[in-house]
């Protein structure tokens, strides 16, 4: 019984429940949803945003925000196209170069928002504009097609029937989960976001921790950029528009607090999947794009709202499940409720 209560109180429960509910509702509305081909489609769609959402979550955990990944993705696709197609650099070298560039973009964001003491929202609002501008500059505004015949292979292949992008995504999420839970740097990210001065007094390098989060966010944006380029085998300054907002939405639906310190990477994955599944369901039902936007927005309100109201809901639920645990234990719950408010 205790485990059930624990699970309902855990951070993962809400986002997972949302995903399951979305899957059930959509599968009732159309029989084209629960098909292998459709799952492959969804997994291809979700992987780019979900990978960028890793970085968004890391930055949000440190009480920051990153608005630049959409533009970073566009710049990555353009630079990769130019390096490989126009300059003839081998694909692996080109990919390595753009990943390093991603780290560089993250460092720029991180540097200005820590040592430069400019709020993260402002810094990344500026770099969102700058990265997009650079993408237009280097391509002179024209998309570059057919980068390399090999590029598509890293996207459209399968291992054990699982599409590669989905696999990359799962691996990156697993690495991030272990990093956040089992390393000092990972815990420092929570500490810095939860209480900056306490973190400082505990000997944590606050600026270095924030810089690390941004750097990793730059890297995941670049990986998402490579995926985007591979999917369409092209680079364009118009790719990735609005991707940063989808990534933030995934983190927020997953329960990450924009105030920092609270959040969970696995929940972000559920958040991203929920958005992708809902979008897919609306597509299958031929719902116009306008309504899709409205629906996604409503889900964000609902998800965060439910999280806010869960305090009462979770308490009631735990009462239901604790009826057989004796009076003493239910009294112990009391201070916990107060703590929630």
């Amino acid at each position: 019984m205790n485990n059930i209560v624990k699970f309902f109180r855990s951070a993962i429960a809400g986002p997972l429940a949302a995903l399951i509910i979305a899957v059930i509702i959509i599968s009732l509305t159309t029989d084209r949803f629960l098909t292998t081909q459709n799952f492959i489609n969804v997994s291809l769609q979700v992987s780019t945003v979900a990978i960028a959402a890793i970085g968004s979550t890391l930055v949000i955990l440190t009480a920051g925000i990153d608005l630049s990944p959409g533009s970073a993705v566009a710049l990555t696709t353009c630079v990769l196209a130019i390096l490989v197609k126009n300059m003839g650099i081998p694909l692996p070298v080109g990919m390595l170069a753009v990943l390093i560039m991603g780290i560089g973009m993250g460092l720029v964001n991180g540097f200005f928002s820590t040592y430069g003491r400019i709020p993260t929202f402002v810094v990344t609002l500026a770099t969102m504009s700058i990265f997009r501008g650079l993408a237009f500059l280097v391509t002179k505004g024209h998309p570059i097609f057919s980068i390399s015949p090999y590029l598509e292979n890293i996207f459209y292949g399968k291992i054990l029937g699982i599409p590669l992008p989905f696999l990359y995504m799962l691996i990156l999420y697993a690495i991030t989960a272990v990093f956040l839970r089992n390393t000092r740097s990972g815990r420092a990210i929570y500490a810095v976001g939860g209480n900056e001065s306490a973190a400082h007094l505990s000997g944590i390098h606050v600026n270095r921790t924030r810089l690390l989060a941004f750097t990793l966010a730059g890297l995941t944006a670049a990986i998402a950029g490579v995926m985007m380029a591979a999917r369409l085998n092209s680079g364009s300054p118009n790719y990735g528009v609005g991707l940063e907002l989808s990534a933030i939405a995934a983190a927020v639906i997953g329960g990450a607090s924009l105030a920092g310190g609270y959040g969970n990477i696995v929940s972000t994955l559920f958040g991203a999947l929920t958005v992708a599944v809902v979008q897919n369901g609306l597509n299958l039902n031929a719902v116009p794009a306008a309504w899709q936007n409205i629906t996604i927005g409503s889900i964000i309100i609902l998800a965060v709202g439910l999280d806010m109201w869960r305090g009462d809901f979770g308490t009631n639920l735990s009462r239901i499940f604790s009826f057989d645990r004796g009076k003493e234990e239910s009294q112990k719950e009391q201070p916990e409720e107060e703590g929630e408010k």
Binding site: R181, R184, R187, A188, A191, N195, S202, G203, I204, G339
Partner: protein, 503 residues
């Protein structure tokens, strides 16, 4: 006895103030040195220099005779000086063990955190303080006093030779304070040295071997505790004699008219069936332990929190209050215990704070604020309430605790209240400002305002109140009039040992 720590000519200034000027002192091994002084005397700044949080502008620190320079808190911790800060420095979203061992988690071969060992080491520390808590409990679920103890555990966990405690008992109950003192004595026997900052002079005599006094950033002197009286210390702190701290009560008050009363106030889980009457010009105290429900009661009266049932009467008329706005409109003021968090706009100026609840009065018929009128009024009130500030344009956050408190009083007196609910009127306020605040409260009462004071300090309630109600677990357990006031009697009601109402 050898000196473990010596400070020589330490100085530090902030824009506009010399916080610490040329202070030298020394700490013996295995000694508890109390550090007292009014707010703004420079105690915290001095300790922050020892703890590596602030850098001294001049002077030297010697540890066992060897000069040291700290550029961060972790340097100091490494050298064996740990500090427990006045403001809680915990991360709410993380567990007890992660807070204690922040950035020092035991790690394995590939730098992976060893959660099991982390839990065990936390449990050992918790056991030492007889705390039955799960190391994985998140800090936000802990009570204030447990959080305070956690701060201390965090500092001890580094195995320091010197532990600096900055007002550690401000949110602890009596029993927890006793526990803490026992633990300090235990650690002292194990050879740890302590510097203990406090405002409660009683604690100096309970705990310390030696006491050092600071005033206006300067070292005033240090004395062996056994050879000094409380009066001596107050004299050293204030630099002058304080007579008539609480002022004289208004004896004519016995035949007061009823100003305000509550009946049957209940909020499930916080307080139950609370009723009292408050006369015109009466000062009524609510005594009780931390967590007895007094603050929650005041908040419900003022309409911040909901109540399940209860009636309010003001000057004989029943009134309905469901929000702070309605309370203010009725002439009820609530001065919070959480001055920084809820009472004042810390980043705004004195002027902006003082007019905040009464902006309507300074608006012309076009809805615009009238600048001159505001300035005159504010200057007037700064004088009336003796707020020491360079100008009305000074940010409140740059004022001392006492002056901030006076600002909050001046701010609320702007609404000309009929009833004032005052939660911990002198928390974090120095002796000088305290006296002024007590005298202001007396003046207010003389004008007919009913005053309710919630305080954890019994001497304060006994000094200032006409009548005291003891609250225990959300219920009134005793009513004591001025001529029967005694700490023992009131405590026995507040602790639930005696009960007048339910035998």
């Amino acid at each position: 006895m050898e000196y473990i720590l010596q400070a020589e000519n330490l100085s530090k200034s902030f824009p506009g103030v010399q916080a610490v000027g040329d202070v030298s002192f020394s700490l013996r091994a295995g000694e508890i040195l109390a550090l007292v002084g009014e707010n703004g005397a420079g105690k915290s700044t001095l300790m922050q220099m020892l703890g590596g949080v602030q850098k001294p502008e001049a002077g030297h620190i010697y540890l066992k005779g060897i000069p040291v320079i700290f550029s961060s808190a972790s340097d100091a911790i490494h050298a064996g000086i740990s500090m427990v800060f006045q403001e809680l420095s915990l991360v709410n979203g993380l567990s007890i063990s992660e807070n204690i061992f922040a950035n020092r988690q035991p790690v394995g071969r590939i730098n992976n955190i060893q959660w099991k060992e982390l839990g065990q080491r936390t449990r050992e520390l918790l056991d030492r303080f007889n705390l039955d808590l799960d190391p994985m409990t998140r800090v936000k679920r802990l009570t204030m006093s447990n959080q305070q103890i956690l701060e201390i555990l965090k500092a001890i966990s580094t195995g320091p030779k010197i532990l600096i405690l900055d007002e550690p008992t401000s949110s602890l109950t009596e029993a927890e304070t006793v526990d803490l003192f026992e633990n300090i004595q235990k650690l002292k026997r194990e050879g740890m040295s302590f510097i203990y900052i406090t405002h409660k002079l009683g604690e100096v005599f309970q705990l310390a071997d030696r006491v050092m006094v600071m005033r206006d950033g300067k070292y005033v002197g240090s004395r062996i505790v056994k050879e000094v009286t409380e009066g001596d210390l107050v004299g050293m702190m204030v630099g002058r004699e304080i007579n008539d701290m609480y002022g004289a009560t208004d004896r004519s008050a016995s035949s007061r008219q009823n100003r305000f009363s509550i009946e049957g106030f209940t909020r499930k889980g916080f307080f139950h069936d609370v009723s009292f009457e408050l006369g015109q010009g009466e000062i009524l105290g609510l005594a009780g332990l931390v967590g007895a429900g007094r603050t929650e009661l005041a908040r419900s009266i003022f309409g911040i929190d909901p109540k399940d049932s209860g009636k309010l009467t003001l000057d004989g008329e029943p009134v309905e209050i469901n929000s702070p706005k309605e309370a203010i409109d009725q002439g009820i003021a609530y001065l919070t215990e959480d001055r920084k968090g809820q009472g004042l706009f810390m980043d705004m100026t004195v002027l902006e704070n003082l007019v905040a609840p009464v902006l309507k009065e300074f608006t012309n018929r076009f809805g615009m604020l009238v600048g001159n009128k505001i300035t005159d009024n504010v200057e007037d009130r700064i004088r009336k309430f003796d707020i020491t500030t360079p100008s009305a344009g000074q940010k409140v956050l740059n004022l001392s605790g006492g002056n901030q408190q006076k600002c909050m009083i001046a701010m609320w007196m702007g609404i000309d209240p009929k009833v004032v609910l005052f939660d911990e009127p002198t928390r974090g306020v120095d002796v000088g400002a305290r006296t002024e605040i007590y005298h202001k409260l007396r003046e207010l009462a003389k004008e007919g305002t009913g005053v309710v004071i919630i305080s954890s300090e019994l001497p304060e309630l006994i000094g200032i109140c006409d009548r005291i109600l003891a609250v225990h677990q959300g219920q009134i357990t005793g009513e004591v009039f001025r001529d029967e006031f005694s700490e023992e009697l009131i405590m026995s009601y507040a602790a639930g040992i005696k009960n007048q109402l339910h035998h």
